[in-house]
């Protein structure tokens, strides 16, 4: 798993690399092809149904061959990070899930987790297990949206309806827990915003019993489907060294044969206490990435079941830390306790303070390593917030994956990198 020896000044990063030179993210049309005068420059996107949002690709076509490619991003830039600097710590939380509107709970957790790391705050076990459960449900949700839309783009329309059938069940579970189907804002600094509602566990169990059958359905539709195989096998190749050099993570890296998962390498929440496998496939093509997604959904269902086993015995336990400097006091105390009222007032109006310092906190989101850097000056607002968006990094691999590709493969390749443009542009 080690990268080959470097060259320090000129030439490609290392021997055998397919990463374009000198700009790693821009594929240039070779001069001899350019000289034929038959190269056509096509603007793909930003408004195109298969760009997963507003991605613009400037593509040089020589017949059906893609000879040059440059990705243009920024159409969804909304300045989340700047806005968060002007909100108190806990009012900044709702910004995070809106970056990646498909795996929102992961984004929400990475920010909350970073603040907790800076505060050195301990979370009650019930919140730890519930967070783990929701992150895994969210992972299944994200993979379902991915497989539904990516297969749709390659012509497998029925896949979309199957995937969105189960997605609906997950959204119902989120609604049951938090009252919202998306952007739940259920994670609070210190734990959960509210207790887990009665009736959630049986519903979640029902889903866990059903989901493996649904994944079987998907696999029946695609895994040995001749059209699907021809569109995905050997397409969009990315080697181990290239993937690591380009900072790829998540299913893209595991589809290139590295069994790297932040949940295993640096366990957070309850991941060191649950049993799960990290699937990886060595082929490095679109099909391998598809297989990783499928296998991961099965593992996630297993994790959700293990979380339910624990949570069902935690009735009545606290769901949020008892630190009055950070956590809102229970509502009923406000009528009887002056101190609680003061704490409530201070936290709501001024916000809690986070000690001076900086941390980087990374988790395994459905798209790969999702990191959050927060810097505090000791005041009630963040000094700087920065998200390491896995989609942003994944898009850098388009030029490498697209080497020697056909125009039709482009859709499959961009889809397989599983990007969400909201997170790319932030």
């Amino acid at each position: 798993m080690t990268a080959t020896a470097p060259t320090r000044s000129r030439g490609p990063v290392y021997e055998g690399s397919r990463i374009p030179y000198p700009i790693p993210t821009v594929l240039k049309t070779p001069a001899d092809i350019e000289a034929t005068g038959d190269v056509m420059m096509v603007n793909f996107g930003p408004n195109h149904p298969s760009t997963h949002g507003v991605l613009r690709l400037i593509v040089d076509l020589y017949g059906e061959d893609v000879t040059g490619l440059a990705a243009v991003i920024g159409y969804l830039h909304t300045g989340f990070e700047k806005n968060m600097e002007h909100k108190t710590w806990w009012k900044a939380i709702p910004y995070a899930p809106r970056m990646d509107y498909v795996s929102y709970q992961n984004n929400e957790y990475v920010f909350v987790g970073a603040v907790e790391k800076l505060l050195d705050l301990e979370i009650p076990p019930k919140a730890v297990w519930m967070r783990t459960l929701l992150l895994e449900l969210n992972r299944i949700h994200s993979h379902l949206v991915w497989i539904g839309t990516s297969a749709l783009e390659l012509g497998a329309i029925s896949m979309f309806w199957y995937a969105f059938r189960e997605r609906e069940q997950i959204l119902d579970l989120f609604e049951l827990v938090a009252g919202y189907r998306m952007h739940t804002r259920y994670f609070q600094v210190g734990g959960l915003a509210e207790d887990i509602p009665r009736g959630f566990y049986p519903e979640a169990r029902k889903f866990c019993d059903w989901m493996p059958n649904a994944i079987d359905d998907y696999e029946t539709l695609l895994t040995r489907n001749k059209i699907w195989l021809e569109r995905t096998e050997g397409i969009g190749l990315l080697s181990i060294d290239d993937a690591i050099a380009l900072g790829q993570s998540g299913p893209v890296l595991r589809g290139s044969g590295v069994d790297w998962d932040v949940r295993k390498a640096e366990p957070y929440l309850a991941y060191h206490q649950v049993d799960f496998r990290v699937p990886s496939f060595p082929e490095g093509d679109v099909y391998a990435r598809y297989r990783v997604h499928m296998a991961e959904m099965r593992e996630s269902v297993r994790i959700v079941e293990q979380c339910l086993d624990r949570l069902e015995h935690m009735e009545g336990e606290p769901w949020i830390a008892d630190d009055r400097k950070v956590v809102l006091p229970p509502r009923e105390e406000l009528h009887t306790s002056m101190e609680s009222l003061i704490h409530h007032f201070k936290i709501v109006t001024e916000g809690f303070r986070v000690p001076e310092g900086e941390v980087y906190f990374a988790i395994e989101s459905p798209r790969g390593e999702l990191g959050c850097y927060v810097c505090s000056d000791g005041g009630p607002k963040p000094w700087r917030v920065k998200f390491r968006a896995p989609s942003f990094v994944a898009l850098q691999a388009t030029a490498t994956c697209m080497t020697d590709a056909l125009i039709a493969d482009m859709i499959a390749i961009v889809g397989s990198l599983d990007t969400v443009m909201g997170e790319v542009d932030r």
């Binding site: 993210t25 990070e81 050099a245 900072g247 640096e266 900086e358 990374a362 009630p380």
Partner: protein, 182 residues
Amino acid sequence: MSEFDALPGLVDQLERHRETTLVVELVSLVDAALHLRDEAGFNFLSDLTAIDYLGWGEKEVSGYIGTAAGRDLNMPMTQGYQVVPLPKPKRFALNYHLLSVSDRPRRIRLQTWADEGEPVPTVIRVWPTADWHEREQFDLMGIVFDGHPNLQRILLDDDWDGHPLRKDYPLGGEPVRFSGEA
């Protein structure tokens, strides 16, 4: 004694919040990056973050509500500190969050400091993934990366004025392009 003593241009090694930060001289950034990649196994650049420390620690100390000019209605909170934070050596800090994708996973923060307009050497030859990360920090923070082959704005328009994540760039209130134009 630590394993990073041989790091080129090492200024300081800090252990805070269960994280290791290695502060290096700006001129030896690329040498330090190569050393960390090839000797210490940090083959993966997770993230690059630039921070603007303009005005760091200049707000009033906590508990002081209002100013001589009265309370600012747009900022109804006590904005101050309980402890005034330590001063910083230069205006901008650059944090390279490195990761070792191997059987022995670990993380490290490589930190260097730059003043306004001071060019920072690019690490694109060390970790190609730095390409867009550096373009983003150029775009939003105005850090100039020396030797970057394609240093253009990435998230904002090419003709955008200013660098929004700088502390002297206001939140909102930017000129509206088409309104009132003849």
